[in-house]
């Protein structure tokens, strides 16, 4: 069941060209939504201004090689492993959601374009990955929805209460993945299966069509912001933040006489204070 292509079976009812046109339309909606979002929020302008300010305050110039190394590090750490998250639960949930979404969307496109009908059977790995992607998206997404969403974790909102436009993205993701799986698992029960398919398409359209209003475009902004954070650390501007010093260095101790010399680099009696507990004291 999970190794058979659900779109090929659907091709009996809906022509494959319609499915392919829908996928192309969704891609166009994402592109248009992101561009409009960028124009509206003036993100490109903001990032360029930030880069200009950093260059002005820089203590050393970065070469092209160094910048590409930083870009690769950004991709490897912040993008591929969601390294920006300090909270491990948020990080793991985001990894499941992100990779689940990517696997699901890519396999959907491959199944619809390369193996559209039952005449071209898809290799079993593809529908398996399709189901796996949707399952991962559900796992990370529902975990986020029930306990990690900041309104629930830090502001006392109950999980069943929607809390503004910020929920549009996660609702779209969860609806798309849940109804995709339900549609696939009810194949054979015609009306129910068709209902789940209609809901799957509805939530997918909501997700890709609401890019301008939802958090969707963060997947483009966040890597840019992460890259800039690495650049400002490397060129010394640090957005005017103080540097991180090694407390056991005698030069540092002579420069800042308030630092007791017995503290050493990692003082034994210090520990988590503010960050000891999760921020849920609403």
């Amino acid at each position: 069941m999970i190794a058979s292509n659900p779109f090929a079976e659907l091709a009996v009812v809906i022509p494959p060209t319609a499915m392919q046109a829908y996928v192309v339309l969704m891609i166009l909606l994402v592109v248009a939504g992101t561009i409009l979002d960028m124009l509206h929020k003036k993100s490109a302008q903001y990032f360029f201004e930030n880069a200009r300010k950093a260059k002005k305050n820089a203590t050393r110039t970065l070469g092209a090689g160094e910048k590409s190394a930083l870009a690769l590090k950004t991709v490897a750490n912040e993008v591929l492993t969601s390294g920006e998250f300090a909270n491990p639960k948020r990080r793991i949930s985001h990894l499941f959601t992100m990779y689940g979404f990517i696997i699901f969307v890519v396999t959907t496109a491959i199944l619809i374009f390369a193996y559209p009908t039952l005449n071209d059977p898809a290799p079993a790995i593809l529908p398996l990955l399709w189901h796996l992607g949707a399952a991962m998206l559900c796992l990370g997404g529902y975990w986020f929805w029930f306990s990690i969403r900041v309104d629930v974790a830090s502001e006392g909102v109950k999980w069943y209460q929607l809390n503004g436009r910020g929920d549009l993205f996660i609702i779209g993701l969860l609806g798309m993945a849940t109804f995709a799986l339900l549609w696939s698992f009810t194949r054979g029960a015609d009306t129910l299966s068709m209902l789940f398919f209609v809901l799957f398409v509805a939530f997918s359209t909501l997700l890709f069509g609401s890019v301008y209003w939802s958090k969707f475009a963060h997947m483009f902004f966040k890597p840019a912001a992460a890259f800039q954070k690495r650049v400002i650390k490397a060129d010394g501007s640090r957005e005017n933040m103080p540097a991180i010093y090694d407390l056991s260095d005698p030069e540092v101790q002579s420069r800042f006489p308030d630092i007791p010399t017995y503290m050493g680099a990692n003082p034994p009696n210090m520990g988590l204070g503010i960050k000891r507990e999760a921020p849920n004291h609403f």
Partner: protein
């Protein structure tokens, strides 16, 4: 001047929401990032600035230590037990960094408890230092005001 959040650095973790003593840092419902909902009630205590794990909050320093157009940033490292300040003047002449220990006592010990200290006596309340205490503390007319004494009930959660 009140705090503001750099939205590209904020990831909506909620630490500033938790620590703000005036309860004015909240999470925006649209972008799901933090923001200051009542800037004129902010008294620039720097709690949110220090609590933010991503250094995403900034606040203009008071004029008694930093002139117009300055930049003041602070980083509190509680595992190393130090607090670092950096003040830059707008003429570029002054770029001062300060590094000091947060405390040299072990974390979690020797915390002063207000309940261990006796309440002010009537003589102290009548003295010059405390005579101006606002009437609504009502130490002279019975117990301290509480939610229960005013017939109110605490409602859990954030509503705005």
């Amino acid at each position: 001047m009140p705090t503001f959040v750099y939205m590209t650095r904020c990831d909506g973790c909620g630490h500033c929401v938790d620590i703000c003593p005036s309860d004015i840092m909240h999470i925006d419902k649209v972008t799901r990032r933090a923001y200051n909902i009542e800037p004129n009630m902010c008294w620039e205590c720097y709690s949110c600035v220090k609590a933010c794990p991503h250094d995403a909050i900034d606040v203009r320093g008071y004029a008694d230590f930093a002139p117009l157009g300055h930049s003041v940033r602070v980083r509190r490292d509680e595992e190393k037990g130090v607090i670092a300040w950096r003040i830059k003047f707008r003429n570029g002449e002054k770029d001062m960094e300060l590094l000091a220990p947060i405390t040299t006592k072990p974390w979690g010990k020797h915390i002063p408890q207000l309940s261990d200290v006796p309440a002010p006596s009537q003589a102290m309340r009548d003295s010059q230092l405390l005579f101006n205490e606002p009437k609504y503390i009502r130490l002279d007319e019975g117990e301290l005001h509480t939610l229960e004494s005013n017939g109110l009930v605490m409602k859990e959660g954030v509503y705005y």
